[in-house]
Subunit: 315 residues, 4 copies
């Protein structure tokens, strides 16, 4: 039983990229999720829903069946996962992990439809959260999430400023415009719709200040806004770039160790290739790193400083 | 008396994160500010104001009372603050510091309402500036302000260019459009509303050029604009990233000193943890820095270059 | 024959910047492409088409003739190109290369017009793809494409998130608004038009939520959107900056080798100049790199550490 | 005569920050330019023009008089400027320099008004170019221009892509929409107005696609657009950050030299302060650089590696 469980765990692990069955399962699930999401989207178009109701229902039924089996299987094998294995209640910890909750959310609406008397339309749309199941298969996506966690404090500072600006912008616009346009700037919450559209530079234009004071204030808000609103994005992008740089350094470290004995044998080659894929680096970048290292090594052997390529003299 | 003052100072200091009473006071004030700001916002909605007038008034009264006590207390203990202690007139310097002025601004509208005969609505909205009181409690926020001060010259250069572009864009659009749309582009100040919306890429669309010349010029302004308008944000984000890097270097420096004797004892551990929190770094980043340092140390002891991991040979 | 082919290859190569004939051919083709694209654009204006039909037709005829000759010539000489020379079927590999496909696309619409019975207007507009022929002549453009390839994984993660957000935003807005505005938010695909305009911060304003729930959700989408939508751009820009830095390092490496013997002779000077132009670096930057290197060299000869300028002491 | 010329040159030089007369002249000119630009802007408002015509005329007359004298004076003393002194025709080179042309443009409209019979309104607005005279006084502004020149190749690649995208986006939208909205998408030049608004994310909303095909294509354009349009800005911001970093390194180099003898005397202190101001660095950053250097120095003297603070062992 334990051996079977271990085997199933390996097949379901999205990181097992060398196993053909595992890769096939991944691909099948990715396609199924994509088809499913597309079906839910198209179902909301009345004409399509009327004509293809049966096919859409079939897709839904098959999907829920597969996802249910997947959920049960993952729950069964989660005790093999090193992240949960050593915890006191591995199955419960797994069930409360983000990915497991997303998996549950993907099948729950279907079963709820039978039990609870709810707005069916709402339940149907809830199925779109299945799109989040795709995050399991994107290594770059998980890197982004890591960066997000790392730079979280700077990130939230940006959002905090955004909220403060939102409150101040809305109150200023309310003061300037509420008498001229009581329907659009009649209260601060109403004015917030305008403030949001301006600070994020979306600028729908359905609500705009018309008084000179309102327009002057609006201009100020827009100018300050572009600086502040782009901040979280800038921090995230810069953090992402930093992370990529560190990832490259990590690969370089491994390479160095592999090069210790002067040659990279086939086993080391495979290991490095796996690492490269894990880190989500392109082949080109990996080759560049390796070339630099080899150059450094030669320089050191020739008695040159590996940093600057000049002979190290000792007087 | 002086001992009591010192004790109160410690309780009010938002950096005292190990004292439970201090943390409770901080939390209470943060919640009160948030509730208060929400109340002021909702008060401008006529329906809510009519129904919950009494509760809103109660929130206001309690808030002003608490904020008044807080202001008096902070003014009393400010002579304990190292930033003001050594100045010739510590209390006056404190009263003129940005945070104290914000604290004053938070209670002034209420008292002014009794004394001066002013537009009450204006006074009420002024209370929203209380949201700025929150800045005291955000360490990341203060980092942002520091970056802002550091990169100020580059920042203002960006804004200066924005103003120059605004003037030139408005005058060009005025020339091209003032005869066809005298109501919208009748003067340069009027055209500035369009220029601002275009340069910041907000693009409300309430005012747009309609002549071919105006649209050609508008396109040019928009294309140049996206480059210029995003500049301050880019500089700020890049400065923030740079700052984070330097902050990490600072922590590494401290770590190195703690590691001097080969081990990190409990006291040093606590000190480093405090520093990490002060610098606003995530635990993950701190651990990464420490691991790198330990690796370097081992390498040095093994006679390897700490920079490149290769043996340092002396011929 | 082979000698002629080699000569023609050299004349057509956009990298041969020291040959006057080659440069003249490049310039002629660039101007022809630009004139041609302009002609196609103006042809769609009814008034211009009616008046200048003959001239426009002449431009088209001459262009197609020249481009056809160019295509044939390039196909003939491609066996001289080191990228295709050593392949088993060099001509076929060349024909399937992106640049050759673009070249084919530039002449195909004209010939197709005679053969197939198609919507002529569509064929005409297709000619605008000729603008892509210009990419051959922009060295900076190819650098951008390289960066794009390098950072591809981070880039696609950004786009993947954008699509997930698009689906979630559209479904949320559909739920909140489809009963009030069935014409604009009647289905999720319809709501996607709004979601796209909001997440990219374009914000046309032709479709906007009007219910409080829709506006609240819309605000959330806009705030999250600015962070996510700017991500690919930020990654690309940061990658571009990184690439420029590495390019400079490459030039520095070459310089160092040239400086090995202490002087840079005329041949080395020419070589470095060629390299600089290849790398797309400005003269100013190149001079800065050289100055730094020379300073380092002097320092090393004076027994100073090239990294910090202080004497290297050996005790 | 030559001595007087030299004295006037020094007074007019905006970099002479230690001379009180020179500073007073700078300030006077800056205020005059600002007042003048404001006057020109307000003059286009009919109500203000009618009421304050005399004052506005006076401002104009005084400004032109001062600017004329300034232009003549600068032309006279330009032979003292090291940038023009050594050229064969220093006065002509100066007259053709950007700053001199801007100075000429600032007075020309006034004199042209007497000579040529032109649209007066156009001439008046032309006076707004006087705002460019301010660039002489902003050191950060000149740094931005330098960065612009350095990253020019990457920058123009970004703009080239923008133009290619503009052409392709406009032609696609023209194909999809010209039959449904012939007034808005009737020709490619007309469709370019929409394409520009979308690619720059301005999104006025006066022109939007309405067909499903047009909206699908529009969404694609918007998504690709945000990546591309932000590119020039990102490159510029990243280049600016890089420049700031190099500027700091330059200051560090100077500091190191000043520290060679172990102390910084008053003359060196003044020199460093001048350099810091020239480089546009904040005091805080300068102090940080100095502290790091002093720490390094102490470490070296104690026989520690200046890079990692650990003892340099020689076995």
């Amino acid at each position: 039983m334990s051996a079977l469980r271990k085997a199933v765990y390996k097949k379901l692990d999205p990181d097992e990229k060398n196993d053909r069955v595992s890769r096939a399962i991944d691909l099948f699930l990715i396609v199924l999720i994509a088809v499913n999401v597309l079906a839910v989207i198209l179902e909301t178009v009345a004409a399509i829903e009327a004509r293809y109701r049966d096919i859409l229902w079939l897709i839904e039924a098959v999907s829920v069946a597969v996802f249910s089996v997947e959920y049960a299987a993952r729950l069964w094998v989660c005790v093999e996962d090193p992240r949960f294995r050593d915890q006191s209640r591995p199955r419960l910890s797994y069930m409360l992990s983000p990915m497991a909750l997303i998996d549950l959310l993907a099948i729950l609406p279907f079963y709820l439809g039978f039990i609870v008397q709810m707005d069916l339309r709402f339940l149907r749309v809830l199925r779109l959260l299945r799109v989040l199941k795709l995050t399991r298969y994107s290594s770059a996506m998980s890197m982004l999430l890591e960066v997000f966690r790392e730079e979280a404090s700077a990130f939230f500072a940006g959002f905090f400023i955004l909220i403060v600006l939102l409150v101040l912008a809305a109150s200023g616009a309310y003061l300037a415009e509420h008498q001229v346009q009581p329907d659009k700037f009649g209260s601060i919450p109403a004015a917030m719709w305008w403030a949001m559209a301006t600070l994020t530079t979306v600028g729908y234009g359905d609500v705009t200040p018309v008084t000179p004071a309102g327009q002057l204030f609006g201009s100020l808000v827009a100018v300050v806004g572009i600086g502040m609103a782009a901040l979280p994005a800038g921090i995230l992008a810069s953090g992402m770039a930093d992370r990529l740089r560190r990832t490259r350094a990590e690969l370089a470290e491994e390479l160095r160790e592999a090069l210790e004995d002067g040659v990279i044998d086939a086993a080391e080659e495979q290991e490095l290739e796996d690492l490269r894929r894990d880190l989500g680096l392109s082949k080109r970048v990996a080759t560049e790193i390796r070339d630099k290292l080899l150059r450094d090594r030669e320089a050191t052997e020739a008695g040159l400083c590996p940093h600057c390529g000049k002979p190290v003299r000792h007087r």
